[in-house]
Symmetry: C2
Subunit: 284 residues, 2 copies
């Protein structure tokens, strides 16, 4: 084991000792206890209130290969994509969803967005991460708010979520750094190079400690995609321009880990606003 692996194993053991999780046997996966799931359920309810929605639409953990190809995901993140193989393949195979939002774009593809559209979605995601420190989940749940429309209102919506998410983490007692980030999202040959992305402040990440030794992990992000996905899925604005999109994405297990790291294993010790999160016996 490398030193990183040792740290990862100790952090996972701590999670088990605290009654939050059990080993699941595969790299980057955990089994989560009702105690952990109550926190997740509370987070979901808080995000529903924050988004002013009825709750998320749940997307399946698998997507059609043609959808993810159209999004050009594999061109940007070939190493992270999990493809599903079965003995008898369909003409269009499936892949594991790398993010919760993709089916939103299928629903809009080759059409016109008459007015700014809003979506609230959730789902299990899979990313074939190379390292296994705690929080580097291969399998995890993402809650994602998405908007599609014209450039300026889309950017304003993204900015609103940066503010709301910042307030949420402050209320929950989770210290975050809000950092401008780059994203290979636009592909190695994309029009947006690293410096340009930073200059344009396209992506912001909320970075928090998910374990004592953690130098910082992105637990949420708010991200303008420009017209990247609009172009891939041929989504137009009424005037004929390509639609822009943005998302506010919340890594549910990572946020739970950041809460546990901040407040400890005993829910009675959590500060009031964070302790109000778990809803004991809540279905997850």
């Amino acid at each position: 084991m490398t030193s990183n692996d040792t740290t990862a194993a100790r952090a996972a053991d701590d999670l088990t000792a605290g009654g939050w999780a059990l080993p699941a046997g595969a790299v980057g996966t955990h089994r989560f206890t009702p105690k952990f799931e109550a926190v997740i359920a509370g987070l979901q309810a808080r995000l529903t209130a924050l988004g002013g929605t009825e709750g998320p639409v749940w997307h399946p953990p698998v997507l059609s290969r043609s959808l993810i190809d159209r999004a050009e995901y594999a061109e940007s993140f070939p190493h992270l994509l999990g493809s599903v193989n079965a003995m008898e393949e369909d003409a269009d195979g499936v892949v594991l969803a790398p993010a919760a939002c993709y089916p939103v774009y299928t629903g809009l593809a080759d059409g016109t967005v008459e007015e700014q559209a809003h979506f609230d979605v959730a789902g299990y995601c899979y990313r074939h991460e190379a390292t296994s420190e705690l929080g580097r989940f291969r399998s995890f749940r993402m809650r994602e708010f998405v908007t599609v429309g014209a450039d300026e209102p889309v950017t304003a919506w993204r900015d609103g979520w940066i503010e709301r998410a910042g307030k949420l983490f402050a209320e929950l007692g989770v210290a975050v750094d809000i950092v401008s980030a780059t994203d290979p999202f636009f592909g190695p040959g994309g029009r947006f190079m690293r410096a340009s992305q930073l200059e344009q402040d396209l992506k912001f990440e909320f970075v928090a400690k998910v374990s004592p030794e953690d130098p910082g992990t992105a637990i949420a992000s708010a991200n303008c995609h420009k017209d990247h996905l609009g172009a891939r899925f041929a989504v137009r604005l009424p005037g004929g321009d390509t639609a822009h999109s943005a998302c506010a994405a919340f890594g549910l297990e990572r946020i739970a880990l950041a809460l546990i790291n901040a407040h400890g294993d005993d829910l009675n010790d959590w500060p009031a606003l964070a302790a109000a999160l778990p809803t004991p016996g809540s279905p997850a």
Copy 2:
């Protein structure tokens, strides 16, 4: 399209018209709305009460290949298994979980069960089904109660679940046939042939209509595994005998479909005990 495909498409369209689901783009998958998820959350809470637990441990949608190999799953159901491939494989790859319970056995493997052990688990499952009629999900959630111990108390536990599940479906106004079933579970070369399984009443299925044209779909089952999994995972009883196991498994989406088929699209029309299920705004 075949006649079956046409029926499947119409049934899926009805589900969309009723506000329960949206197309997801891949065979046997759906996107589920908050209205549908409220029913799922209510079912989960009712099953938690029925099982007298704190709620399920959530298992990840992927399992290590070595776990599923030890269970000899692929020998019985080679066509249903989804294997995950990534650009850079680990020594031990992953597969999509075909049932929620498998990590339970990893936790017990090569050990002794001192007294009858009980588990309450849930998770997303994947089965690469060849047909696509409504309810023939490739991706779905399973809630599973599992016991491991000696033959007789394990069988008695299974019989208790047949009774409890029967009462639950009666309360929910879902007409079910309880039928003795066979299962290729024990493998093509298994010790339990079809006639023997039926004679021994190892598996019972709760069969209900999940759509108007449905001749009947298994929405739950209660299943004695004899010592099949105990032997695979070397789980022993204190005297040295191989442990027996049984499960009571609930297909959450299928049960929701059976409720919708029985009571319609308007929750106000549902009979009281079924209408008490959905918890509006409940996080799912």
